[in-house]
Symmetry: C2
Subunit: 355 residues, 2 copies
């Protein structure tokens, strides 16, 4: 290995959780990766230390101006004992474009992947092995220089923390009910929709709360200018199978370039299925629904991999998709992607990376 | 006083800074106010303690999903020794609407003002007295529950920290050069433009960096949908005096409802000057500039009070305003507002609050 991060091991290891009761993002492992950035010096002193609270000044920039970013990926343990990551280079690439937009200093992509591997390796006994469980990996950067004033910070922390997680949806692959948001807006051209930053998520909570109150699991965002083009579903990308075409919003700056989205597009192409990255109006979706041409709809993301949509509500209209059941394509994509991630489907594309 | 916050005094007070070399937001006083929120229990245990680093878990929501908000106001010491705040009830009101948008639990407005007064009172010897200096007050709320997942936190901290600051612009009231941003967008209807939250500022840094590179001090934001209506200048509201009308953008959800903005509108009305809160296109501004009808332009905000604009640049066009000099109205507004704030102009409107 090119990088050799010093490791300080915990003297008080925690008990591993019961894999049957794991939820999402509640527990953290024994160690974390931490590295500093200082203007003039660059990124320095990357190391693995026991997971512990940070000492941060109340004036730290992150608390006031939200100069921060994060990533998310998972580690799985295969049946033959290999520890596998799924396309971590894509998380590093997305970090580069997020950082550029947020005036956060560039983080070397290879270094980022090596840091992830190193800390996962130290805590590999924390990877749960029950079907549907995994070790969720959360790399993130925060601006921690203590000053008030709107300008990029001169000091940052890059960290990687790890959380053993259960299946995202308790009941496994089950169709969700989605609400089309036409009041609140997530992103707009010239904004930060393509970047993985705290501010985008804070801004979206209100809409999600509204959806929950109305009995829906997530929201489908529309574009911020005309409020007619479909963009994303909550924290995942959206796919629509209309007749024989699979459609997803293009990467035009307002949606997150999902790694699962990219993988799905690749698989569909490989399977000879027509897939289009194009603008799609919500009217077109409902029109297709009424005509029985909206064959399937699903969301893609690291947390749930593939999440089929069973019902879509927009204003006074409602459309039930595939009788509220899991579609054939959704199931096939889930099986293939999940199979690749846990090392049970042969990886001909070089997507899995062994720790 | 209705509230009686316990006070733990520092045993190691810091030396007060030299008032001649004060900058903005670099130094903090000896104490801070801190109060917790726990779901089910509400806000509790407000107290004044020595200014010190926080112990926060790496998984705290604020680091990942930027669920956070802040406010800003100033304390001045009048010649006769009174400690004055300027319209703190307006900061509390704005906090209410910000919190509502961000799914942050409501903070009682009176409690917030009393907390500010209490901590300013403890550190009142830190209020610098030199002309142009003040004690900047930063109330803020951060979500510190340690969990990963996009939902409102179940634990928060409300804090007030204090920073003795110098004049915002080193040279005093001097006209600035402003760049019209027509690529990046600050806010859009349905978004968070009216809320005082970290995410809005993180998103704006890139544009400000671009303006600096081009030799401009700040950016003038245009609306996010049509990119033609003027909105705000950096972290302040924008006013345009065209012929005999003073125009500023309306409070339609995309701009911050500035307290200085509100005060300026009130004063102008009181002085019998025509003032309109209406949409104004950037074309109209430049047209007026060419015809010699753009008499003055200025930004308003707590930091600089009134900041005249001497030059405005948009695409390939440039307009010099009032020969790049301070306008009559800008100067008069500054004198009146600053005079009120430091207790030298008689307060007939009840805007100043004594600590
Ligand atoms: C807003 C948003 N869109 C899409 C995604 C899906 O991206 P990925 O497939 O890389 O997890 C995520 C989650 O990471 C997200 O937060
Ligand atoms: C975006 C923005 N607009 C306007 C203002 C001016 O508001 P106020 O006059 O209350 O300071 C501020 C600063 O507080 C701001 O950050």
């Amino acid at each position: 290995m090119k990088y050799n991060f010093p490791i300080t091991r915990t003297t008080t290891p925690k008990a591993k959780p019961d894999p049957d009761t794991l939820r999402f993002g509640q527990l953290f492992t024994d160690h974390m990766f931490i590295m500093e950035y200082t203007t003039g010096k660059g990124w320095h002193d990357g190391k693995i230390v026991p997971y512990a609270p940070l000492q941060i000044e109340p004036a730290a920039a992150v608390f006031h101006y939200a100069q921060e970013m994060f990533e998310g990926l998972k580690a799985y343990k295969s049946k033959d004992g290999r520890v596998l990551l799924f396309r971590p280079d894509m998380n590093a690439k997305r970090t580069t474009s997020t950082n550029e937009r947020m005036c956060i200093p560039h983080l070397d992509e290879e270094l980022m992947v090596e840091a992830i591997k190193a800390v996962v390796n130290v805590d590999k006994d924390w990877i749960p092995e029950k079907k549907g469980t995994s070790l969720y990996i959360r790399p993130f950067i925060i601006a921690d220089e203590p000053f008030l004033g709107v300008r990029p910070s001169d000091h940052y922390l890059f960290m990687v923390i790890l959380s053993p997680v259960g299946p995202y949806y308790e009941g496994g692959l089950a169709p969700t009910k989605i609400f089309v948001e036409d009041d609140f807006v997530r992103a707009t051209p010239g904004g930060t929709g393509f970047a993985k930053i705290g501010g985008n998520y804070a801004a979206g909570m209100k809409s999600q709360e509204k959806a929950h109150e109305k009995g829906y699991e997530q929201v489908l965002w529309l574009d911020g200018v005309e409020r007619k083009y479909v963009e994303e579903i909550g924290t995942s990308n959206a796919f629509f199978k209309i007749h024989d075409e699979v459609i997803t919003a293009p990467l035009s700056g307002t949606i997150l370039p999902g790694i699962t989205r990219d993988s799905v597009i690749n698989l569909l192409k490989q399977w000879g299925i027509k897939v289009s990255e194009r603008r799609l109006t919500i009217e077109e979706v409902f029109e297709a629904g009424k005509q029985g041409k909206l064959i399937e709809m699903f969301a893609t993301g690291t947390a749930a991999v593939i999440s089929p949509v069973g019902e879509l509500s927009w204003k006074d209209e409602k459309v039930v998709i595939n009788n509220g059941e899991i579609g054939e394509l959704s199931q096939k994509l889930y099986d293939e992607l999940y199979g690749l991630q846990i090392g049970e489907v042969e990886d001909t594309l070089g997507w899995t990376v062994q720790v």
